[in-house]
């Protein structure tokens, strides 16, 4: 309250401090009586329980209406951005608002900021997706074919990583008919984490994609017949070692090597490129 020429005037703060991040952590837009929840690409009208625009990935979720929210099951599902390169399991924060998987994020952003890394990930990207400051302008070839690529972190360990297809569906497509290739990376030394990420993308994820695309299922059909008998964890490794000896090499032995040479320049792990090359082949057969 203020006193002015014997008149008492009530002064209210211009903006009331109201916490606006409501349902599923989205900002509530209540100016001018809008009453919408602002999601990344469209707004949710909670009065009618629907979005006000169609899902930009409605073709991926053909079994649902394009206006649905959380598959009409908000107790079981949360609404996701629906992009084809999924990083929500990588960019996770702790209670103090710090990223948990710092070295994995560093490696991922290093990878995506190289020309070769960007070019490769653009195969999976959906039009309009923005990752680490880079905007993908077109739908990638693999995105159009129904394949998503997901990145996740694991606590620090022995710089290991793993790659699987639809880990909850044991190699089968998801309910929406799309395959999800999931890469998990442990934290640790910066160069080693980058090396693991490069290994998982170029040796395993790429071979899984090509295995699916050649006949529609994951069945080792792109592995030489004599190597299909090898243990499942090793079949890609044997194939990689064999293919890298061919004239044109492989994605891992060409693009992967380029990325790791650049990584070594930054992190100075090895004295020379020969050692970088040799470090790329220390895995289980």
């Amino acid at each position: 309250m203020q006193e002015n020429n014997n008149q008492i005037i009530t002064v209210r703060p211009a903006v009331e401090a109201v916490y606006k991040y409501m349902y599923q952590g989205q900002e509530r837009q209540d100016e001018l009586g809008l009453n919408l929840d602002s999601f990344k690409w469209r707004n949710y009208d909670y009065a009618i329980g629907r979005f006000n625009k169609i899902d930009r990935f409605s073709d991926k979720y053909y079994e649902d209406t394009p206006y649905h929210f959380s598959k009409n099951n908000p107790i079981y599902f949360i609404e996701m951005a629906g992009d084809s390169i999924i990083t929500k399991n990588l960019y996770i924060k702790d209670k103090s608002n710090n990223y948990i998987y710092k070295s994995q994020i560093k490696a991922f952003e290093f990878f995506i900021n190289t020309n070769t890394g960007k070019k490769y990930l653009s195969l999976f990207a959906s039009k309009g997706q923005k990752i680490a400051g880079f905007l993908f302008k077109d739908d990638g070839k693999y995105h159009k074919k129904g394949i998503d690529l997901s990145f996740g972190g694991e606590p620090d360990g022995a710089n290991n990583g793993d790659t699987g297809v639809g880990n909850n569906n044991n190699g089968k497509p998801n309910d929406n008919g799309r395959y999800s290739i999931e890469i998990n990376i442990q934290g640790g030394d910066d160069f080693d984490v980058l090396s693991t990420l490069t290994h998982e993308i170029f040796i395993h994820a790429d071979r899984d994609v090509k295995d699916i695309l050649d006949n529609g299922i994951l069945d080792n059909s792109n592995i030489d017949k004599d190597l299909r008998k090898k243990r499942f964890i090793s079949r890609h490794h044997f194939q990689e070692n064999r293919d890298a000896r061919k004239k044109d090499g492989t994605l891992y032995s060409t693009m992967g090597y380029q990325i790791l040479k650049q990584g070594n320049k930054k992190y100075k792990k090895y004295e020379n490129n020969k050692k970088v090359w040799n470090s790329m082949w220390h895995f289980t057969y």
Binding site: N160, H199, E200, D208, W277, T284, Y285
Partner: protein, 173 residues
């Protein structure tokens, strides 16, 4: 009074026998494990439990290299018995595989009460109770071990062979 004493002695003998028979059961547990590598630095080793002595053959990515042994204490023996008893051995499969690349695999052989179970599995794909047993035994490698010259044959290693391929030639140095 004398009858009560006699009865007490009898009960005592019975209890001791019961205890001894339990101990005897424990010595009948035989377990053998061989681990594969994974993408980078998983511990590759063989382990064999016979008569409450656990032998480790450390191969790669371990604190030690070579053959070591560890004598289980009573608590550890009892824990192993309870873990073995928690397994539904009749429903155990011979193989639990996964489509995931780069994870560690385990080849195991469990002998208990005249039953033999051979189980090969990818990490996190076998029944929890079975994995708990294997993990408990493998974690005993962190105890104080002593080097040994005993010759131990690890049959489970055959299925998880260690292969070293040379790197391909560097195409663009």
């Amino acid at each position: 009074m004398k009858t009560i004493k006699k009865y007490g002695i009898l009960c005592g003998i019975l209890l001791i026998n019961l205890f001894l028979s339990n101990c005897k059961k424990n010595t009948n547990i035989e377990l053998e494990i061989s681990t594969s590598g994974c993408y980078k630095n998983c511990s590759i080793l063989d382990a064999k439990l016979i008569n409450n002595i656990l032998y480790f053959n450390f191969i790669k990515n371990n604190k030690y290299v070579g053959l070591y042994k560890y004598k289980l204490n009573k608590n550890e023996s009892n824990k192993i018995i309870s873990l073995v008893n928690s397994i539904q051995s009749d429903s155990l499969k011979k193989e639990y595989t996964s489509h995931i690349s780069d994870i560690q695999t385990y080849n195991t052989k469990l002998k208990y009460k005249d039953k033999i179970k051979n189980v090969f599995y990818f990490n996190n794909s076998a029944p929890k109770e079975y994995q708990n047993l294997i993990n408990f035994v493998l974690n005993l490698k962190k105890k104080k071990l002593s080097k040994t010259d005993t010759v131990i044959k690890f049959q489970t290693r055959n299925k998880v062979k260690i292969i070293n391929l040379p790197p391909p030639p560097n195409p663009n140095k």
